[in-house]
């Protein structure tokens, strides 16, 4: 096996362009995914049977089928129907970019909804009762206590989900997008340097994962500050003059 390292340098700019698209796909669909996941998770955590059942089917479908099928369904499947092609949605569905975003968002929403549901259910009842006992209404409780707490609890697991989404985004290459994998495939298709390109793409993926992991560590540190809080007394305690026992506070 002879390796042609030169081609990696030659095509690096195109790989990096692909990496940028990959990042964009992950970021945009991640944000849309959370926006969808939160109401779904709240519905799943509800006591009402019907409210619970609806998202169940949605989640079951998206967790039980391959992402590749979902992407093809959105990209090639939807365009089979004239109604869709003539609808106002078409300008969006026409773009492979948005089809990928739609498929990834729906997919990650299903997984994240389950994560958030279990986080919501992990909040100690007492903390919610405390909110109720001070007279908070339902929406205030959700906004001020349930969601911030659930988000903090779910954060580490959600970090994993984002990594999984990063890896799943490679499937965008199957619907003509030149994401990192798409770029690697297209380049190697004409230069016949598969291993070199996949190796380079792999290294970039690992670097992006490391970036995401670092980002989540940081977010967790910021968001779950209370777990990392080191007791530092208020500045006046640090002021030696004020610590003098003779000074009456």
């Amino acid at each position: 096996m002879s390796w042609e390292w030169g081609v990696i340098w030659q095509y690096l700019p195109r790989l990096l362009e692909g990496a940028w698209l990959t990042l964009e796909l992950v970021l945009v669909s991640g944000l849309i995914g959370i926006a969808l996941a939160i109401p779904l998770a709240l519905m799943r955590a509800s006591d009402n049977y019907w409210v619970k059942a609806l998202p169940f089917l949605y989640i079951y479908f998206f967790r039980g089928t391959p992402l590749l099928v979902q992407i093809f369904l959105v990209y090639y499947g939807a365009s089979q129907f004239d109604i869709i092609r003539e609808s106002i949605l078409w300008p969006v569905l026409k773009e492979a970019y948005w089809c990928a975003i739609i498929a990834f968002s729906l997919n990650t929403a299903a997984y994240s909804a389950e994560l958030f549901r279990s986080a919501i259910q992990a909040i100690p009842v007492g903390e919610l009762e405390a909110a109720e006992a001070v007279g908070m209404n339902r929406s205030l409780q959700i906004r001020r206590i349930v969601l911030p707490r659930a988000f903090g609890i779910a954060l580490p697991a959600y970090g994993n989900e984002v990594i999984l989404m990063l890896k799943g985004s490679a499937l965008a290459s199957t619907i003509t997008l030149l994401d990192l994998t798409g770029a690697a495939r297209t380049i190697s298709a004409r230069s016949y340097t598969n291993m070199e390109m996949y190796l380079a793409a792999g290294v970039i993926y690992l670097a992006i994962s490391a970036l995401i992991i670092g980002l989540f560590r940081f977010m967790e540190y910021r968001f779950n500050r209370y777990q990392y809080y080191n007791h530092v007394d208020t500045p006046k305690d640090l002021d030696p003059q004020l610590r003098d026992p003779h000074i009456d506070r």
Binding site: E129, E132, A133, V134, N137, P148, D233
Partner: protein
């Protein structure tokens, strides 16, 4: 303070869990400034009674009045009474303070944030004002230096004192305490009891479920003894502790010195 003003009135409260009848008609009136201790053996329904007052538990039957205002109730799906008007319930809850046995502080907020949360969000107090008030309260419970700490960094006794400050920040008409010291080490109990004694001295209306006999005797204006979901006997502490009428209360008192 007009001493005959009614702060809280419960009329014939019943509560069942499935087939288990836990409360079987409890009526009770607390006037402004009353400190009522509720005693009773485990399982007698003390916690349930307290939780029914602000509808953390839905009673099966009965009436609840805070001040002169009656809490509007309607039958719910499971046969228990639920609030007919959520707005009124929320408004009433904001006037009843509840201090939990297990504190239930919000761990993702600092001490100060825990205290100002409800005044700002529920009472719509301006934030600066709420902070000023919170600082006074922290001073009062002896925790002024912990304002920026998180609940996880506090000892049990400190947590319970913050929980009390959080409740006081709403300036409630009535304070309900459910065994506020029983989750604490003996050494920490005194911290919290001292704060509660201070509140009693200020003339706050309080209902306290407790196993601290000494505290009940020294601080209460009334002692209520609950037995199998009913009030077995009630009266001023001297009478309840020194010569209770009921045999049940006598037994309880003699085993709990």
């Amino acid at each position: 303070m007009a001493s005959a003003q009614t702060a809280l009135e419960l009329k014939d409260i019943h509560k069942s869990f499935g087939d288990l009848k836990v409360l079987k008609g409890v009526s009770l009136t607390a006037n402004d400034g009353d400190v009522i201790s509720i005693l009773g053996s485990s399982g007698s329904g003390k916690s349930t009674l307290l939780r029914c007052i602000n509808l953390l538990e839905n009673p099966s039957q009965g009436q609840i009045l805070v001040g002169q205002e009656e809490l509007q109730l309607k039958p719910g799906k499971d046969g228990n009474l639920i609030a007919a008007n959520r707005k009124q319930l929320e408004q009433m809850r904001s006037r009843i303070g509840f201090v939990f046995q297990s504190f239930n502080l919000w761990p993702h907020k600092t001490i100060l944030e825990n205290i100002i949360e409800a005044p700002v969000q529920v009472l719509k107090q301006p934030k600066a004002e709420a902070i000023a008030r919170a600082e006074q309260l922290l001073e009062k419970v002896g925790l002024a230096d912990k304002r920026n700490a998180y609940p996880d960094n506090l000892s049990g006794g400190q947590k319970q004192r913050v929980a009390i400050a959080r409740t006081l920040a709403m300036d409630p008409q009535v304070l309900l305490f459910d065994e506020p010291t029983s989750a604490l080490d003996p050494e920490l109990v005194n911290e919290v009891l001292a704060v509660m004694k201070g509140l009693a001295d200020e003339g706050r209306t309080m209902l306290i479920v407790t196993h601290e006999m000494r505290f009940a005797r020294d601080v209460s204006s009334q002692v209520v003894f609950l037995h199998e979901g009913q009030i077995e006997e009630m009266g001023p502490p001297e009478q309840m502790f020194n010569n209770p009428k009921s045999q049940r209360v006598q037994d309880f008192m003699s085993s709990h010195r």
